[in-house]
């Protein structure tokens, strides 16, 4: 081994080294013992006093959540102060008898109406919890009124460990207005805490749920601050240790200027009664800004900021409602596009040179069309038509024949180009659902389990828009981009993010997500057709006409269940020669698109162009 030394020398050398090691051990531990002696004997008094009387507390300073404004800087969402009454375990009396007397005093507190502030069951639970939750205050009364706070403050000397905390809660001044777009905030749930995307959140955080509140939660919440305070034995703050750098100021969240137009949104909300199921989307096809979005029935997001009892009542009301007010029908509701889809069929035909403005089909509309053994009805008797007339009257027989000739692959390709289809439009609120455009392959795949096979006869239904699935948002994007012929812009709500002092931090850049262009000739014919739907006396959408504004539109009546009224569709663009706004309306089981949908969209368009509703 160690060749240059004898074995015995090696041993001696090694033992010396071990001794050196042990000397190091003793040296290190001596230093530690000296330090301990200094802490526990020399500085015992001050440490003991500090541990008994003066305690350091770390208090989180919650950052102000950012507001949401409409495009003209009217506040849509703001904050309000909310008072919480809580127990702080460390300041509560140590003796059980003293704690019991606090308990009974709390029980005996009554407000002016003679009602008890606390019920014994939940108060008892809170007192139990103080035994193991030491550092965090335990809430015993949520969102207390000023009067209740005054009563507690009055008795504060008799109630050690009971404190009033001021929190900030969300307030939606317009109630149900745009509730599906804005979303709401609530305390983070146990399930969410386990998800990786919520790794930076902690228990008790109020976070955005649904809508813009959820999508932009990180922007709205800001960065919480922290301060170190010294509290005395009864838990009162003695001083903030901000002088020694023990204060981190919270950074308030960003404010959002949304694309919503409050005036337009109000008109749209008023046009759709809360008793109806339906949705409306109004957007600017030139950049994808969504001006108004309504989903009915609505909910009032303010209920989530209330105290628990009232919140639960409101929640039960909306969650159990068979009309499903929680769903944002404008992006999550999927419906057959109905006759609005005829625009895609016609467009595909024109684009591929299969039909033209002067082409007539051999079979005129006599109220139906014989395909093999099947007789497919039309909703009227229209005679022999070209494409513009067929769109104006929404004649099914024309599109049965056109669809068979054009074939689904071409129609779907054209439809996808303008925003329909399985790909999401990636609107910046959660919950968007993709649509579905069936062709032979995807139809067989989807219906494998049911044993249904693709048949050519299905084209008859699909050519008139029965059988596809689209969302109202897709419908609005479709007619809008059809009219502009300049590409499909990503629909969005975020216009600008501003910091607390009003500087623009982030501005949304419009983004083209589908090519959305066609030949000029196709565009001209389609526009002529959309124009005649509204402005021709025989058009299906004539109730949507506005004097002085050239509105183009397409109506639709979606069949969904035998014997039920159809879903009413109306998708409009105005002005046709310089499109500024696209509106899509769907009213579930309400009847024909021209009679139900058109008047609603008309009100929105009137408001957009600043025209007064004339008296009828």
């Amino acid at each position: 081994m160690y060749n240059d030394t004898s074995e015995n020398e090696t041993r001696v050398h090694r033992n010396w080294n071990v001794l050196i090691f042990l000397a190091g051990v003793v040296l290190v531990f001596t230093v530690i013992l000296l330090r301990l002696f200094s802490l526990q004997y020399i500085h015992y008094e001050e440490n003991f006093q500090r541990s008994e009387n003066n305690r350091l507390r770390r208090i989180e300073l919650i950052a102000d959540r950012g507001y949401i404004y409409d495009r003209n800087e009217n506040v849509l969402v703001r904050n309000r102060p909310s008072y919480q009454i809580a127990l702080q375990a460390l300041e509560m009396p140590k003796k059980k008898a003293d704690r019991d007397s606090v308990f009974h005093r709390l029980l005996n507190i009554r407000d002016a109406a003679g009602m008890q502030l606390f019920d014994s069951l939940s108060l008892d639970t809170a007192f139990q919890r103080t035994r193991w939750i030491k550092t965090r205050p335990i809430r015993i009364l949520e969102d207390a009124t000023m009067e209740q706070v005054a009563v507690i403050e009055e008795h504060s000397t008799e109630l050690p460990g009971v404190l009033v905390i001021i929190e900030s809660r969300r307030e939606y001044p317009y109630g149900t207005l745009a509730s599906h777009v804005l979303g709401y905030t609530s305390e983070i749930s146990e399930e969410q805490l386990k998800l990786p995307e919520y790794a930076t959140y902690s228990q008790g955080d109020r976070i955005g749920q649904k809508g813009l509140e959820q999508q932009y939660d990180r922007e709205f919440r800001g960065v919480n601050g922290l301060k170190l305070v010294e509290v005395n034995a009864s838990g009162r703050e003695v001083r903030t240790l901000s002088d020694v750098g023990a204060l981190i100021e919270p950074v308030p969240g960003l404010h959002m200027i949304s694309t919503i137009d409050l005036k337009l949104q109000k008109v749209a909300e008023a046009a759709i009664p809360d008793s109806a199921r339906g949705a409306l989307v109004a957007l600017d096809p030139r950049n994808g800004e969504i001006l108004a979005m309504v989903s009915s029935p609505r909910l009032d997001p303010n209920i989530f900021s209330l105290k628990r009892r009232e919140r639960n009542k409101g929640w039960a009301h909306v969650a159990l409602d068979s009309m499903r007010p929680l769903t944002n029908r404008a992006i999550s509701g999927i419906y057959p596009p109905a006759s609005v889809f005829k625009l895609a069929t016609a467009g595909a035909g024109l684009e591929n040179g299969i039909i033209s403005e002067t082409k007539y089909y051999p079979k005129a509309c006599t109220g139906g069309y014989q395909y093999g053994a099947r007789y497919q009805k039309c909703w009227g008797v229209h005679g022999n038509l070209n494409v513009v007339h067929a769109l104006r009257l929404s004649c099914d027989v024309y599109f049965y024949q056109a669809g068979l000739e054009i074939d689904m692959a071409r129609i779907n390709e054209f439809a996808r180009r303008f925003g329909y289809g399985e790909k999401l439009l990636e609107v910046d609120i959660p919950g968007e659902r993709a649509g579905w455009l069936p062709d032979s392959a995807s139809f067989n795949r989807r219906n494998k389990r049911l044993g249904w096979r693709w048949a050519r006869g299905l084209i008859l239904n699909l050519a008139i828009g029965q059988g596809q699935m689209v969302t109202p948002l897709q419908q609005a994007v479709f007619v809008g981009s059809l009219a502009t012929n300049k590409g499909v812009y990503r629909p969005h709500f975020m216009k600008e993010l501003r910091d607390a002092s009003g500087n623009v931090v982030h501005r949304y850049e419009p983004e083209i997500i589908r090519s959305g262009t066609m030949k000029p000739e196709t565009h001209r014919v389609l526009m002529a057709a959309m124009d005649s739907v509204v402005n021709h006396p025989g058009g299906t959408g004539k109730r949507g006409a506005i004097p002085g504004i050239r509105v183009g539109a397409k109506t639709g009546s979606g069949e969904w269940k035998k014997g039920q009224k159809t879903h009413a569709w109306y998708a409009a663009v105005a002005p046709l020669d310089d499109p500024q706004i696209a509106v899509a309306v769907v009213m579930e089981a309400a009847g024909g698109g021209g009679s139900v949908g058109a008047p609603i969209a008309r009100k929105v368009l009137m408001a957009y162009f600043g025209l007064e509703e004339e008296n009828k």
């Binding site: 081994m1 090691f21 530690i32 541990s51």
Partner: protein, 416 residues
């Protein structure tokens, strides 16, 4: 093996060593119990009960280890080293977003911490190599392989990032060099650049003088060791440059980076972050006084502020409840433990035994020192637990594995 060997009393088993270990473990269970007494859950879910289970598992592991022959350990060295590296790489690749996920392999039933396993594998491997190939400053080639063995796991652990565990590897390596041929002076020369950085960090007068003294001492040592000219110049130059370079790098750092380093070195400069814990820990220990507040009386006051009181800050629990007397008693137990552990190498002339024994003792010493020094505000806040006292499954198993290894070396050595 016959039962006669087992009962033979000629010190095949150092019962004193085993007794000290068991005492420490019992103290540990009591401390974990008092730190987590406020939990209101069924007993088999409590920390103290789980700690007992971990210890029992560890003891079974250690007993099994006693029957492993020393030759088998030597043969296992290289394979275990390779496995450790594979696991370390694996954990780096599959690091998730969750805090600390870069250190764990989750097997659903238990979570494995490859860096803990790597400590043991590295200890055996470096000992095996150094026992065959002593190092010397007069032949720098001897350092090539051990340095290679060291730098790979060191870098992988540092990447996790886990600085304190990486430093454990460093400590084991340095002590290994010391017992594989380097003299005390050599060790000083190797460490002199680090000392130079430490002394030059502060601009105070005292530090400047100390730094000058250090340089003089290095020069004297180099001359007295009669090292080759090239190496001598390199060492002196490195030491001087390290001092200047560190202050230059320091000035180049952004203010927020400087603040982070300062906070690490002196937690009290950040009373809202790490300093908060240290402040609470100091108050807790100090308020224990000489005799302590008594078992179970501490957790009511300051310690409920400490989120890691049952793991990294268990010493504060001890200090508050049992005072100076309790702390001193535990420290005496640790000294006895390290004394008996290091004396095992005297029972065997095999350098491998010496190196493993001293390496294991170093791992213990490093954890104990860094942890206690952290709770009393002498060292930065790092995540190193206190052997036998801190709560934690992985680490309990590692400690008992090392104890088993030490008992094994003595038992197997005496059988030869």
């Amino acid at each position: 093996m016959s039962s006669g060997r087992f009962l033979d009393k000629s010190l095949k088993f150092d019962w004193f060593f085993i007794g000290v270990t068991l005492t420490l473990m019992i103290c540990g269970v009591f401390l974990v119990y008092s730190a987590t007494v406020s939990e209101e859950i069924v007993f088999y879910d409590t920390h103290w009960f789980r700690q007992i289970i971990y210890f029992l598992t560890g003891i079974i592991l250690a007993v099994g280890l006693v029957f492993v022959k020393i030759d088998w350990l030597k043969r296992a060295a290289v394979p275990s080293y390779v496995i450790a590296l594979v696991l370390l790489v694996f954990v780096l690749i599959f690091a998730g977003d969750v805090k600390g996920a870069g250190r764990w392999i989750d097997l659903k039933v238990i979570k494995l911490q490859p860096s803990e396993f790597a400590k043991i594998a590295y200890l055996i491997t470096i000992s095996y190599w150094l026992s065959k190939h002593p190092v010397s400053l007069f032949n720098l080639k001897t350092f090539a392989v051990p340095f290679g063995l060291f730098i790979v796991p060191f870098a992988l652990v540092l990447k996790q990032p886990d600085l304190s565990t990486a430093l454990v590897f460093t400590a084991v390596t340095l002590v290994g060099f010391f017992f594989a041929g380097l003299t005390f002076t050599d060790m000083f020369l190797i460490l002199s650049p680090v000392l130079s950085v430490l002394f030059s960090h502060s601009q105070s007068m005292v530090m400047q003088v100390l730094w000058g003294l250090l340089i003089c001492l290095v020069v004297v040592s180099v001359i007295r060791r009669h090292l080759s000219k090239g190496l001598s110049v390199t060492i002196v130059a490195t030491t001087i440059l390290a001092g200047y370079a560190s202050s230059m790098v320091w000035n180049m750092l952004e203010p927020h980076q400087q603040k982070r380093v300062n906070t690490f070195l002196d937690p009290m400069s950040d009373p809202l972050g790490d300093g908060y814990q240290v402040l609470q820990s100091l108050t807790a220990i100090g308020s224990g006084g000489i005799g302590g507040k008594g078992f179970g009386n501490g957790s009511q006051t300051n310690l409920s502020f400490l989120p890691e009181e049952h793991t990294d800050f268990i010493f504060s629990v001890l200090g508050e409840q049992f005072g100076f007397v309790g702390c001193a008693a535990i420290i005496v137990l640790y000294v006895l433990f390290l004394w008996r552990a290091s004396s095992i190498c005297k029972t065997n002339d095999d350098p491998f035994v010496t190196l493993v024994t001293m390496g294991a003792s170093t791992i213990f010493l490093f954890h104990i020192t860094v942890n206690i020094a952290m709770t009393i505000g002498l060292m930065p806040v790092t995540g190193l637990p206190l052997p036998f006292l801190s709560y934690g499954g992985s680490f309990a198993l590692v400690c008992l594995f090392l104890v088993g290894l030490l008992v094994c070396l003595r038992y197997q050595g005496s059988r030869q």
